[in-house]
Amino acid sequence: MRQLMLGNAAVARGLYEAGCAVVSSYPGTPSTEITEEAARYDEIYCEWAPNEKVAMETAFGASLAGKRSFCGMKHVGLNVAADPLFTVSYTGVNAGMVIAVADDAGMHSSQNEQDSRHYARSAKLPMLEPSDSAEGRAFAMKAYEISEAFDCPVLLKMCTRIAHSQSVVETGERTTPPARPYEKNIGKYVMMPGNAIRRHPVVEERMRRLAEFAETSDLNRAEPGEENTIGLLTSSTCYQYVKEVCGDRYPVLKLGMVWPLPEKKIRAFAASVDSLVVVEELDGFLETFCREIGLECVGKEKFPPLGEYSQNLVAEKLGLPVHSGKSLDEPIPPRPPVMCAGCPHRGLFHTLNKLKCTVLGDIGCYTLGAVAPLSAMEMTLCMGASVSAIHGFNKALGAESEHKTVAVIGDSTFMHSGMTGLANIAYNQSDSTVIILDNSITGMTGHQQNPTTGYNIKGDPAGKIDLESLCRAMGFRRVRVVDPYDLAETEKAVKEELAAEEPSVIISRRPCALLKYVKHKPPLKVNTEKCVGCKSCMKIGCPAISIQGGKAHVDATLCVGCGVCTQLCKFGAFESTGGEA
């Protein structure tokens, strides 16, 4: 059937058709929908794991047991899963195993712009890179064949524009892969030195055979051009920009397999053109290879290592006509993302700002706590870093810091990699105050369940980890729960736990205001008789509140009646509109 599919949905379709049986992933933009879409096929067991390392090891276990498996993650997720990655390369697989990693050039929703292709090279694994949804499906299926033929997991590299673009896909039926019963093989699967030493040459030999495969595989395709003045070596979304700009004017070597690279094919292509031009987003990965094999080429001296490319950028760099349009003479105010109206994080960040706390933050919607006017976050690094870093911060500065510094981390991020940092605080004893922002969902990536929510990926009841019990079991005596809509209670809790001469955890608990089951109060309105225009309510950065004609104004279409503004107004100007929302 011919249909429009999101790149990520097409990959999920490929998994389905290839007979994938087990999927375990952690959500991360732009990779999340692969797993969400896979979960719609009843034939595939799908789950959200607590983090990418667990997901990859789960997928490996399923492969070992003889079922085709998959795990998906964003680029920084692969850092978390790098430990199993490098050694699964040694053990190899039983049934096929595919690992999708989605890069985010342009950082639409990420903390860095790293290039995942380096992982393929350093972990010595093959990597396929589709350039549209149809290839997303086809390459996912091809990846299983390669995985089983060469006895290794296969990396499937996505990027934001391929993952989140819909294009035409022709789907097929699900096939059942050949049975691969589990067999005990200590020499292959127990990676202690004596065995690993014997596996390493196998890995090197495998890469040699894969490089040979790359020479003849139709994954790598030379397309002729009308002029041979330049030849373009490219892949993924850059291939699409090149074709958009050049059409069939210049020859193109389009790589669907970006590691290992087909040396002979690239040499022959380079020899057929006057100048080899490498067009690739982020790092000069293909370019480095070309230079290593002694080919002259044009690459990063011309094309930027930063951000996303586009057709105009490629046209400009190739000296071709660039489209342009008109804009207004005056500046257009930016529209940065903001915490939603009714977001439970708002009350907490207001309190931390008011108390002049030093706030070490983490990855999630609440990273927006760093944005004006809340401006209440001073550090965000990676998943879980708030909890580990506050311990180091407090050990470095002592009591003075312990009485004013807090770590803030979401429920899902805490499950992902906050727990080990908390263990360090409990074990090595800093009087740190950790605040878990429990909004009962993984918010930023679009509402995925996690081990604290009590539901699985399909929305069915599942195991539920109790945060209070967990913290107490780790040795925290001071564990308390507050409602961040209640500013007085929240302030009291933060003050008391900062003052305490021992480690403590505050759980700031209130479900995400966007969750469907959350019942909202009617919107508030401003009594303009009472409002004096002091703008106290503007300190919380609520998108529903603005100043109109010198008085506060509530946008009734946005307001969910959370009442945080009401507590800031000394004049009682915010009033309920009554009735039901």
Binding site: T32, D132, Q240, S324, G325, R335
Partner: protein, 190 residues
């Protein structure tokens, strides 16, 4: 056929994904190659969002660049102005006149520009501006602004009404179909 470009711009949460799905379904049904590029994740949280819809015989790039859009469909005036440079010299803007203040305007750090429709027209852009929020409310829900805009856009396309109707049926949940039919008609005939 040369590739045609439609940009859908607005504020995160306004329903642009449904509009792009509708267009994707419609254009695929007409036999075109189609690409639709969306934005997910952090930028969705009340930020400026853009969706690219491209169709033709063979579509390569999933995105639309400066000076390439045949249409900019906008849920909000400031967003139409923000993306103006993406319009082709003879391109058409279809915009709701709704105004949503971004945080820098709310906090007073920036001002919301006045007379945006006139200023955009002064650059030579063709601007079709209408109060889609009022029409959506008239249809029965403020959330139907996206379909009001699609109705208005249909005005510029030489496609049979049944084709739009079929895509609407395919993309909108049955219980909201009547409401969205009204919204579409109100936009089309405005």
């Amino acid at each position: 056929m040369e590739t045609k470009n439609i940009m859908i711009v607005g504020v995160g949460g306004q329903g642009s994904l449904l509009a792009s799905k509708l267009l994707g379904h419609l254009l695929l049904g007409q036999g075109y190659d189609v690409k639709v590029s969306e934005v997910h994740g952090m930028s969705q949280r009340g930020g400026s969002v853009v969706t690219y819809v491209r169709y033709g015989d063979c579509v390569n790039s999933p995105v639309i660049d400066r000076g390439e859009a045949d249409f900019i469909v906008s849920f909000e005036l400031l967003e139409a102005a923000r993306w103006l440079s993406y319009l082709k010299p003879d391109g058409q803007i279809v915009t709701s006149t709704q105004r949503i203040d971004p945080m820098p305007v709310i906090t007073g750090a920036a001002a919301y520009p006045e007379s945006l429709v006139e200023k955009m027209r002064a650059t030579g852009a063709k601007v079709d501006a209408l109060d889609c929020l009022a029409l959506a409310e008239q249809a029965g829900s403020s959330k139907a602004v996206n379909i009001v805009l699609m109705g208005r856009l249909s005005h510029y396309f030489d496609l049979p009404a049944e084709a739009w109707e079929q895509s609407l049926e395919a993309m909108v949940p049955a219980k909201f179909l009547e409401l969205n039919r009204r919204a579409f008609a109100l936009g089309k005939n405005a």
